[in-house]
């Protein structure tokens, strides 16, 4: 049997980390933010670049999932048209709680340059948004910084409480 030498004088004396339930749960949640594959327009290209090897979302634990049932965060990447509005609501409702929404880019924030009859003027008219990213389109660095801000937001909240109702209605 292998003999492992434990240095009891290191790290306060014991190979044990003490923490609270809140911290360990939030640590798990914030470092495995699985994102819904939801590229609606050109912002989706930047979102794909964030997931690919150069920017490497995997090191944040952010892995894109093709099903809302497996996703924690919905990144609304692109123009939300009025025809599609009912489906963003349906996909949001299909995600399991706790769930978060990042509105990525000008179109998802405010409708952007599409000041027309066919574009929803901001996806927060349909679903509650946690984080707005400016840009047209935002660079992958912006999206990654946004995910890190969302991680901070998750860690700042108490994990034990049920997520506050964020629905508009």
């Amino acid at each position: 049997m292998a003999q492992h030498k434990v240095n009891y004088t290191q790290d306060g004396g014991l190979p044990v980390a003490l923490t609270s339930i809140d911290k360990i749960v939030n640590w798990g949640r914030s470092n495995s933010l699985w994102a819904l594959t939801y590229g609606l327009a050109c912002c989706g290209i930047e979102m794909m670049a964030s997931g690919a090897s150069r920017f490497d979302f995997d090191r944040f634990g952010t892995i894109f999932r093709a099903s809302p049932r497996q996703a924690d965060v919905m990144i609304v990447a692109g123009t939300l048209t009025k025809k599609h509005a009912e489906f963003i609501k349906r996909l949001y409702d299909q995600m399991t709680e706790p769930r978060w929404v990042i509105s990525m880019g000008s179109c998802a924030n405010t409708g952007g340059m599409f000041n027309t009859y066919a574009t929803v003027q901001g996806c927060d008219r349909i679903i509650p948004v946690d984080l707005y990213l400016p840009g047209c389109a935002p660079r992958p660095e912006t999206l990654q910084y946004g995910v890190m801000l969302l991680q901070k937001k998750i860690r700042a909240n108490k994990a034990g409480n049920a997520q506050k109702a964020k629905r508009l209605m």
Binding site: K82, K89, N115, Y117, A118, Q121, G122, R155
Partner: protein, 268 residues
């Protein structure tokens, strides 16, 4: 030329284009100048009435009667080798004389010529579908119905193609406002949450050029970010970029900016 209009308030009012503006026409020439077009026109005139014909920008334009369209296109496809319907749609002349102008852009690959077939219909009239002749007319006629409300008789699936099936109004009419009418403004709210939610969600904020430093709803506070809806007092401290909490994160090594390496060469 277009009449001058003052544009000193351009940022607040984005659209100054006169939607009823009619562009000046480029010169027209007689059909006889082109032997191929003259022969084509003679072949069409032998069977159908042609109201007007001329050459414009090396393309022949002919005006026919609305009831003849299927026969003319069949003749052009089978006997005159105009085998492609490049596009077709309508032009809104409702403000001028309550009519639509329907055009069919035909292409002959062997002759290397294009002919535009046109006719007028009154508002409310339907056109004859040419979907049996050209498969491309299937979606084009659906789009014409979607955008102008012109129905095509004998079409196999006369439904909207771009807008949702339950949409009201025809967006490409010149009388349709670009930012949508009352129905369009509340379409998604009415459909998802119901009419009673209008007061809660509120009207659309359409002025995307608006910049207001006291506005925490419209994302105009870069570097001074606050949670949405916060009452702005004006003396918020600037937000410095920080990737982690100051006192560290459980089980995660704290980012040390001093000791981290910045790679300058993007090609490395």
């Amino acid at each position: 030329m277009r009449a001058y209009k003052p544009k000193d308030n351009v940022q607040a009012k984005a659209y100054y284009t006169d939607r009823f503006y009619v562009a000046p026409q480029v010169p027209k020439t007689a059909v006889e100048e082109d032997a191929v077009f003259a022969a084509d026109l003679a072949a069409i005139k032998a069977k159908f009435a042609v109201k007007e014909a001329y050459i414009q920008v090396e393309q022949m334009v002919i005006y026919i009667n609305a009831c003849d369209i299927y026969g003319v296109l069949e003749l052009m496809r089978d006997e005159l080798a105009y085998t492609q319907l490049s596009e077709m749609s309508a032009i809104d002349w409702l403000a001028k004389d309550n009519s639509f102008e329907i055009f069919y852009q035909m292409l002959s690959m062997t002759k290397r010529k294009r002919i535009r077939v046109k006719y007028f219909i009154q508002k409310g009239e339907a056109v004859d579908s040419v979907e049996k002749l050209f498969r491309s007319a299937d979606w084009s006629e659906r789009e014409m119905f979607d955008m102008f409300g012109i129905e095509a008789n004998n079409h196999p699936f006369m439904k909207r193609i771009l807008m949702p099936y339950d949409w009201e109004g025809y967006p490409l009419l010149k009388s349709y406002p670009l930012e949508g009418d009352e129905f369009a403004a509340w379409y998604e709210v009415d459909k998802i949450y119901g009419k009673e939610a209008r007061d809660i969600i509120g009207p659309e904020l359409r002025d995307t050029a608006r910049v207001d430093s006291y506005d925490s709803e419209r994302f105009a506070r870069l570097g001074h970010e606050v949670p949405k809806g916060t009452k702005i007092t004006g003396d918020e401290p600037a937000v410095s970029q920080s990737y982690q909490e100051e006192d560290g994160v459980f089980l995660i090594k704290k980012l040390d900016k001093e000791s981290s390496v910045i790679i300058d060469d993007p090609q490395r």
